[in-house]
């Protein structure tokens, strides 16, 4: 696809929807649905300035720290559990149980345990976003190719070298699939952790707007969240293309033949 074509595909539908929205809200006086231009203005005046530094950046910071630890811990623990058979058999039912708990219910618990602070919010993000990475990694390690494994063994590639050159790259496709889910879970939990007993952050501000009937501001907050999600998706794709270029190439070839 040519770059121009790609850009057209990328922005085509959003533009169409905005036009549609503009047409439908033209002349409407509904208090709860803002008009596009009004919303764009609000977006600018509400979020560019102090709020950006007081609410948006701290939220993003907590999200970044939470995701980093969720992914790093998920990979490390996943490699450990996946390569130790007894540990895997012992822990797997338990892990599935924890994964099944909806993470928002952990917020009150973590508030009691940690208190209402940044650590609690980061902990909420980690406790929800770790599972897809962790379980995918365990599953991936279990399924590494037996012939590659034998190759490693016969060349004496063991221990850390085995992880570094064989297991970790082999599991990367599963890890990335897990990370993709973790990103959206992380974003959700970032907002939820700020809705309870908090005095700043994106989630807090949006709820605040809603309570004060600042409807266009509330909508603009939702747009900010959407943009953050989009940003995460773009970063993810960029990283995934680099890390897994071999995987996509391999898949393309096996599908062709």
């Amino acid at each position: 696809m040519s770059p121009l074509k790609r850009v057209t595909y990328f922005v085509g539908l959003p533009i169409l929807l905005i036009v549609l929205w503009y047409a439908l809200s033209f002349g409407s006086t509904n208090f709860f649905v803002p008009k596009p231009i009004e919303l764009a203005q609000t977006l600018w005046t509400t979020w560019i300035g102090d709020r950006f530094f007081d609410d948006v950046l701290p939220s993003l910071g907590r999200l970044a720290v939470g995701l980093f630890f969720a992914i790093a811990l998920g990979i490390v623990l996943g490699l450990l559990i996946g390569s130790t058979r007894w540990l895997r058999n012992l822990l797997e039912p338990l892990l599935e149980f924890f994964r099944a708990i909806p993470p928002p219910v952990l917020v009150p618990l973590l508030m009691l345990l940690i208190g209402v602070n940044d650590s609690m919010k980061v902990a909420v993000i980690i406790s929800g976003a770790i599972w897809p990475v962790l379980l995918n990694t365990v599953e991936g390690v279990r399924a590494v190719d037996s012939v590659l494994n034998d190759s490693c063994r016969s060349y004496g590639i063991a221990g850390f070298a085995r992880i570094r050159y064989f297991v970790l790259p082999a599991v990367t496709p599963q890890i990335m699939a897990g990370v993709r889910q973790s990103l959206s879970i992380g974003l959700i939990l970032m907002v939820i952790s700020e809705m309870f007993a908090s005095s700043s952050g994106l989630g807090f501000t949006i709820v605040q707007f809603q309570r004060n009937f600042a409807i266009p501001e509330m909508w603009s907050g939702i747009v900010v969240l959407g943009l953050i999600g989009l940003g995460l998706a773009i970063i993810f794709q960029f990283v995934e293309r680099r890390v897994l270029h071999w995987y996509h190439g391999l898949k393309e070839i096996t599908h062709d033949s």
Partner: protein
């Protein structure tokens, strides 16, 4: 440990490089046992190139896995240079049947060949020289930056061979390495193996189910019976050392040898069945 060191330390009446004694492997499967290999005994002297032929399912892969220390045998012993093999030995390299799954798809050809050396902490310069030489010897010095999956099957298997060659093993085990490549490539690869063998003086055990291939390649051919497997015959191949695809295969001696091996394999396949029939007859005579 280098090859020359060990040769120097060896007594003149050398211990065989590889010695297999009474090897048996029984697989435990749900609801019973499968005896893949019953009783195998044979030796490989240092620098020999021996082919192992046997019908499909006769336990060739099983045998190779036991020899290479990747799998534990049920009974019997494998000795490399006089010491018992209990795990994958350092001085052995294996080329697997499934070439598509034995190279790391996330590494370039060069990185694949280099990895075992890197793992052995071979200094960088030496490593580069070894990798270059190995890639050159298999005729792949033009694609070091490609990924394995961008190459044809025959080329992938050559990368796997280059990796084994660069590692400088004392013993090289190959499990039907050419089973899945086309006839022309296969002929080239066969000549490649003989060239490498002569250059490196490495001991090679080459497993195949192709009779012609075994006779063309080997200095000796070991014929396996069908499962449960024993050594059916151990045959010396007295063909000239210089072999080439056209002339060697046209030699009357080549024809004789291949017919002989063919007959042995047929006998191997029929073996247990004929025994069964005789047993039945005997039973019905009573």
């Amino acid at each position: 440990m280098t090859v020359s060191e060990t040769t120097m330390n060896q007594p003149v009446q050398a211990v065989p490089m590889l010695s297999v004694r009474g090897l048996q492997k029984i697989y435990k499967v749900p609801g019973g046992e499968v005896e893949a290999v019953r009783d195998l005994t044979f030796d490989l002297a240092e620098g020999e190139l021996v082919c192992l032929v046997g019908p499909s399912g006769s336990g060739k892969t099983t045998l190779l896995k036991c020899i290479s220390g990747l799998m534990e045998q049920t009974s019997g012993t494998v000795e490399l240079n006089g010491s018992k093999v209990t795990g994958p030995p350092k001085s052995m390299a294996v080329v697997f049947q499934e070439y598509g799954r034995s190279l790391f798809p996330w590494m370039t050809v060069r990185a694949n060949v280099e990895l075992p050396l890197k793992n052995q902490k071979v200094p960088k310069n030496e490593r580069a020289a070894l990798v270059d030489a190995a890639l050159k010897s298999v005729g792949l010095d033009h694609v070091p930056k490609s990924y394995p999956w961008q190459l044809s099957g025959g080329m992938q298997q050559r990368v796997a061979i280059a990796r084994a060659v660069a590692y400088r093993p004392q013993v090289l085990l190959m499990d039907e390495p050419f089973a899945a490549v086309d006839a022309q490539t296969r002929a080239d690869l066969e000549d490649l193996i003989r060239t490498i063998w002569k250059q490196l003086g490495v001991t090679i055990l080459f497993v195949t189910h192709d009779i012609d291939e075994s006779v063309y390649l080997g200095e000796r051919v070991i014929v396996l019976s069908s499962s449960p497997t024993v050594v059916q015959e151990d045959l010396k191949i007295d063909l000239p050392a210089e072999r080439d695809q056209l002339n060697t295969r046209a030699l009357p001696r080549f024809m004789e040898l291949r017919s002989h091996v063919y007959a042995e394999i047929q006998r191997a396949k029929l073996g247990p069945v004929t025994e069964q029939i005789t047993a039945q007859r005997r039973a019905s005579l009573k």
